[in-house]
């Protein structure tokens, strides 16, 4: 038997599913296709011409300051790994609380999502970034003032231009009330902001948010990775203190499969574009008065963190990996996953509210499976490991701070990654598209 490369088993299954149902497939997670990624980069480490720092003993800083350009209260984070925006609604209240606990334990920030701010999340989050989304579900000025930073969301890596949806089975009474919608209906999150269009308007919107909060809060602008170079330039011109770029491997709670896999560009391709835009504007790595870059979409290990920082990010954000740390796809729920037609390690039906791990659900029985304290502990452990791994690599490259890592520390093992990351193909001085 020979499997078709064009009509492989996943393609055949998708055609069969479409023919049977007449509706496109909606799922969670993020892009599953193979893409050029951080795996395709390697650090060179120290050598004759580079002097390493000593193992785990010599200091290697990890702190980062975000949003000092205009805000009187920038964020001072202990580590450069933050928690990305995920909504209450998509996630259980327990999961949101656990994210806040874990992030706070290691001195980093977490982020609300489409649907507003919950007391559980605010109460357990030392640094909480409040998302300002097109839907404005649950948006209110009291929470705006309670936030530590404001993130204006234009798009998401999994679905640039796609808006969002939360299917009826997850619209519990509490979620419905927070979003001012009838309980149990399929809820649409708008793809366009309702009161501004284009970068000139965004400038005025940012000014309004600053005026409402007395110029205290850092203001982020988040874009899904697509026309990244231009988007970042426009965001900075509009007045963003921090730009967040989310690559197509970034997660989602509910999006059409065709969208997840076919719209947007990989994180690796977007990051150097963003850095170039910031450099040309003279705001890259300029201390508190510069514009900081946060990159997300497929960050899994300390090596990924280190590579993102080396390419010019000031911090990264994690979403899918954070949920896995809480207990998503845990083998101890193998029987439950099987009953849902899935398996531990494959479960991606975040949209349907029956998550055995109690994370992407509003079912009170399932949600009770997640202990926020234990979940927070696990997330904090994971964040510590990411940080230590990034420090290990930074020391080996002779850096006393993880943000001192630089493109010169990297090479690529594929031509595609070399072209996207703008670092040489290993063993050569060839950067496709940049050098001959």
């Amino acid at each position: 038997m020979r499997e078709s490369a064009t009509f492989d088993r996943n393609t055949i299954q998708a055609i069969q599913r479409a023919a049977a149902t007449g509706v496109y497939d909606i799922r969670g997670w993020g892009a599953k296709r193979a893409l050029p990624h951080f795996d395709d980069l390697l650090f060179l480490g120290a050598s004759m011409s580079r002097y390493p720092l000593e193992g785990y003993r010599e200091a290697c800083g990890t702190d980062v300051v975000l949003g000092g350009r205009n805000a009187s209260y920038p964020l001072y984070l202990d580590i450069p790994v933050t928690i990305a925006g995920m909504s209450f609604g998509a996630l259980s209240a327990q999961a949101k609380e656990a994210l806040g606990r874990g992030a706070s334990d290691v001195g980093t920030s977490t982020t609300t999502g489409d649907g507003g701010m919950t007391p559980e999340e605010r109460g357990q989050s030392k640094h909480l970034v409040y998302q300002y989304l097109p839907s404005r579900y649950g948006m209110n000025p009291d929470d705006l003032r309670r936030a530590d930073a404001i993130e204006i969301v234009l798009g998401q890596g999994a679905k640039p231009g796609g808006g969002g949806m939360l299917l009826g089975q997850k619209i519990s009474k509490r979620v419905a009330e927070m979003r001012t919608l009838p309980q149990g209906i399929d809820q649409r999150s708008a793809s366009r902001h309702p009161d501004w269009t284009g970068p000139d308007d965004l400038t005025i919107k940012i000014q309004e948010l600053r005026e409402i909060t007395d110029w205290e809060k850092p203001i982020y602008v988040k874009v899904g990775a697509s026309r990244t170079y231009y988007d970042v330039k426009l965001a900075v011109h509009a007045g963003a203190d921090v730009v967040v770029v989310d690559g197509m491997q970034g997660g989602t709670a509910a999006t059409q499969e065709v969208f997840i896999e076919n719209v947007g560009i990989p994180t690796l391709a977007a990051l150097p574009q963003a850095v170039q835009a910031l450099q040309e504007l003279g705001v890259h790595r300029q201390g508190a008065k510069g514009v900081q870059l946060i990159v997300s979409g497929g960050i899994r290990t300390g090596a990924d963190v280190a590579k993102a920082l080396a390419l010019g990010a000031d911090a990264v954000a994690i979403g899918t990996a954070a949920l896995i740390a809480l207990g998503d796809n845990d083998p101890r729920y193998a029987a439950d996953y099987e009953a849902l037609g899935s398996a531990a390690g494959f479960y991606d039906d975040f949209q349907d509210g029956r998550d055995p791990a109690g994370i992407t659900t509003q079912d009170p029985v399932l949600a009770a499976r997640l202990d926020p304290v234990e979940g927070g502990r696990r997330l904090a452990n994971y964040l510590r490991v990411l940080t230590m791994e990034a420090q290990t690599i930074a020391r080996a490259c002779g850096k006393s701070h993880v943000t001192h890592l630089e493109p010169e520390d990297l090479v690529a093992v594929t031509i595609e990654a070399a072209a996207m990351a703008r670092v040489p193909l290993a063993g050569t001085d060839w950067i496709p598209g940049s050098t001959r």
Partner: protein
């Protein structure tokens, strides 16, 4: 503090945020943006002239009167209190507002009441296209005409229009005016200072055919 008059300039909003009561007159707004935004106290604020974008944005508790025209997003995301525009309003008036009363004595441009979440809006004149797009809750009263695609993708907001509607958006339909609607409309008009006969109005709302996505109901 009983009353004060201040010229619109940098720092006006900070000044207003520190007040917990009283009357304030803001002069020379000269089309500036973000005039009297983020108010959070029972102030009486009068703005003497035309405002730019987002005047009285996210208002809570305060009663704001704009004696002039208002730019994009007047009273956007208002939570409570009232905003009265004695003039015309640009696009997205009352966008996403959760509560309070917005009165526009003249016309309002496109997207009036877009994504409204509980606010009451009364427009003395006509409104532009795509008004009440994805309107979730609250009431929108239009004494004149409505432009194309009124109430597209509407949820539970109730729309009352006295004049012509150029076209209805997806899932928005005309509905019967029952006694409770006459009473509700009469009350809203009275709050805005009008005494029209509710019988001259047509009610519009959601057909609720888009509440559950399935093949065949995608526009």
């Amino acid at each position: 503090m009983d009353s004060m008059t201040i010229v619109m300039d940098k720092g006006v909003n900070r000044t207003l945020h520190r007040l917990d009561a009283g009357s304030v007159t803001i002069t020379e707004p000269n089309g500036k943006h973000s005039v009297a935004v983020g108010l959070n106290a029972p102030l009486q604020v009068s703005i003497e002239g035309h405002c730019g974008y987002y005047a009285a944005g996210m208002n809570q508790l305060a009663d704001v009167v704009i004696n002039g025209n208002a730019g994009v997003g007047v009273a956007e995301n208002m939570m409570s209190g009232s905003v009265r525009v004695n003039g015309n309003a640009s696009q997205s008036a009352g966008a996403t507002a959760h509560g309070g009363l917005l009165v526009i004595t003249g016309d309002a441009a496109a997207r009036c009441g877009i994504s409204m979440k509980g606010v009451d809006i009364v427009v003395g004149g006509s409104i532009g296209h795509m008004s009440a797009f994805m309107a979730q809750a609250g009431r929108l009263v239009v004494r004149g005409d409505a432009g194309e695609a009124l109430g597209d993708s509407i949820y539970e907001a109730r729309l009352y229009v006295r004049g012509k509607v150029a076209s209805l958006g997806a899932d928005c339909i005309a509905k019967d005016m029952r006694d409770e609607h006459h009473a509700e409309l009469r009350s809203l008009l009275a709050k805005a200072g009008y005494d029209d006969d509710p019988a001259d109005y047509t009610r519009y709302g959601s057909a609720r055919q888009l509440y559950h996505f399935h093949a065949g109901n995608e526009y």
